[in-house]
Amino acid sequence: MEELRKKAREALASGAAQVVLGYGKGSGKKARAVFIRKPDQADKLILDDSCVQNLAVYLKKPEVRALGKPAIVSRLPTMRALLQLASENQVAEKDLLVLGVSHDGKLLDLPEFKAMEDYVATAPLELTAEERAELDKIQKLSLDERWRYWQEQFAKCVKCYACRAACPLCYCANCLAECNQPQWLPVPSHQRGNLEWHIIRAMHLAGRCVSCGDCSRACPAGIPLHLLNRKLAEELFRNFKSRAGMSAKGEYALGVFKPEDKENFIK
């Protein structure tokens, strides 16, 4: 933690960054995003297991962008989000510094995206037994049970769009949920509106989601939205050996194809 504060202080003092986007003490057991602009405020930074929010999400916020060049405290999901955003031309290497943190809390030296790519490439990205079990639990259900399970989950949705707001990859200036000519997605949070929204969200993130899990953490109703994304990420890897957020020049799995892609479901 001290090492991080030191690095943050230096970055601000040298002018390498105008703002450090990191974690500070929040309410209860939570950590919260802090925006450190002066070297002497760097002591507000903390680094522990409560620091899970994907801070790359703040790059889409005009008020944060107005603060100047950021240095972003980044664990693996944040790094992957940054790489994915770079591959979608949403951030450029020169516009930010990465204060990388390894899974065991060590500071990483990641001077450029290449170093970040190398780090991400060595990180274990297979699902843990626990994560796999979460998926399997649903996959083992019968078709009807799965339908009922998700209908119950979606019934809790109030369409607050916290899942969208918390997602670093949901950056569209005009989300299709806000397009009304035609009203493609129903506005109200009735059952149809909720189902359509969650399907659209999952599909638009397929091949882009970096599995940070912030959608589920953000959901006030506790809907396990990350499972939809995880399921699709796994399928994309299984079928196309493609993972999002691995490279700043990565290909979008649904933007490319191979003639030999499997098609056993097509007559």
């Binding site: 950590a31 919260r32 916020k61 008020e63 109030v158 607050c160 506790g222």
Partner: protein
């Protein structure tokens, strides 16, 4: 009218529930759903969640559903036929509502009736009775005492129950509606217990003076820097508004096919950029800091002045559930203590 104090034994709840049901009322009560607790229809007290501070969503939906039909229409050649909503609200008892949430119905009512009378809302409210439950526990997010409420506040409930050390309840019958409910099972309500109510209540400290906050707010509209700083980590979702028991803002939406359709009213949030966007592209509240300001101003400055109600009951949900840990009480204290 004076409040009747009675004793309601814990064993009597089953009886009370069945009497309520046989009188044609449906009962909404907190139910566990995974780690969340929602108000759902129940038949017996056994289905209810135990030992919780606050439900995930409030019971607002009982009087102000998150999506409700206002009227429907049919297309017939060039003509349009309007039809009133067919389903009339059913008599409902909300059981186990916290005093803060119970107080929110009056806030909602103040908006729906301050000028034009919203009969659709009123008809739902009329059919709804509240058997509240005092709070034995509070957490750091609770601040009812700062906005005129309290963990054992009777205002808002028709009957307020307070769990005593024996597990039995002190039943305070507050309103005529409450008396009607008690009259369904008069034998269950015994003579008032001697035990002191206060010692069975959670401690919720007062954290700021409403009047000070109000006076400060009215000076702070154009202190842009304050609003930008406060809202820097706000992500601009609508979670705070949708979990809030006192947020009223809504949207009207048409959903129709070729033969006809419905006009719906659904919850909306002042935190969304679309909320005030003009068709021309102009937006009076174009950035999040302005929308955050609106949220605070509306609840703590405009509503007290226009509707005579604070638009907040201190339930703390917005802070508990905020994905960015926007802690409302922290920001309110900052404003109340503002020295500018």
């Amino acid at each position: 009218m004076a409040i009747d104090k009675k004793l309601l034994k814990k064993e009597s709840l089953d009886q009370l529930f069945s009497r309520l049901k046989s009188s044609g009322r449906s009962i909404l009560a907190p139910v566990n759903r995974g780690e969340q607790i929602f108000f759902e229809q129940v038949n017996s007290p056994g289905e209810m969640a135990k030992d919780y501070i606050q439900t995930t969503l409030s019971a607002k939906g009982a009087v102000f559903p998150r999506c409700e039909e206002l009227f429907s229409y049919r297309f017939e050649a060039q003509e349009v036929k309007l039809e009133d909503r067919k389903s009339e609200p059913k008599p409902t008892v909300i059981f186990g509502l916290r005093p803060c949430d119970a107080a929110s119905f009056a806030v909602l009512n103040s908006v729906f009736t301050w000028d034009y009378q919203d009969e659709l809302f009123k008809s739902r409210l009329e059919k709804t009775a509240v058997i509240g439950l005092s709070c034995k526990k509070a957490d750091e997010y609770c601040f009812c005492a700062s906005v005129g409420g309290g963990p054992g506040e009777t205002q808002g409930s028709d009957i307020l129950l307070t769990e005593l050390s024996s597990g039995n309840y002190l039943a305070e019958i507050v309103t005529d509606k409450g008396r009607d409910l008690a009259a369904l099972a008069p034998e269950l309500f015994g003579p008032a217990p001697a035990e002191d109510k206060e010692k069975n209540l959670a401690a919720v400290a007062k954290q700021f003076e409403l009047k000070t906050l109000n006076a400060k707010l009215s000076q702070l509209f154009d202190k842009n820097q304050l609003w930008v700083e406060q809202s820097l980590r706000c992500l601009g979702c609508g979670a705070c508004a949708f979990v809030c028991p006192a947020c009223v803002c809504f949207d009207l939406q048409d959903e129709a096919g070729r033969k006809g359709g419905v006009r719906l009213r659904c919850w909306d949030s002042c935190g969304f950029s679309l909320f005030t966007l003009h068709t021309s592209g102009h937006n009076p509240r174009s950035v999040q800091s302005q929308r955050w300001r609106q949220r605070l101003m509306h609840k703590f400055a405009y509503m007290p002045e226009r509707q005579n109600f604070v638009g907040c009951v201190g339930c703390g949900r917005c802070s508990r559930l905020c994905p960015a840990d926007m802690n409302l009480i922290e920001h309110l204290k900052e404003i109340a203590e503002n020295r500018e």
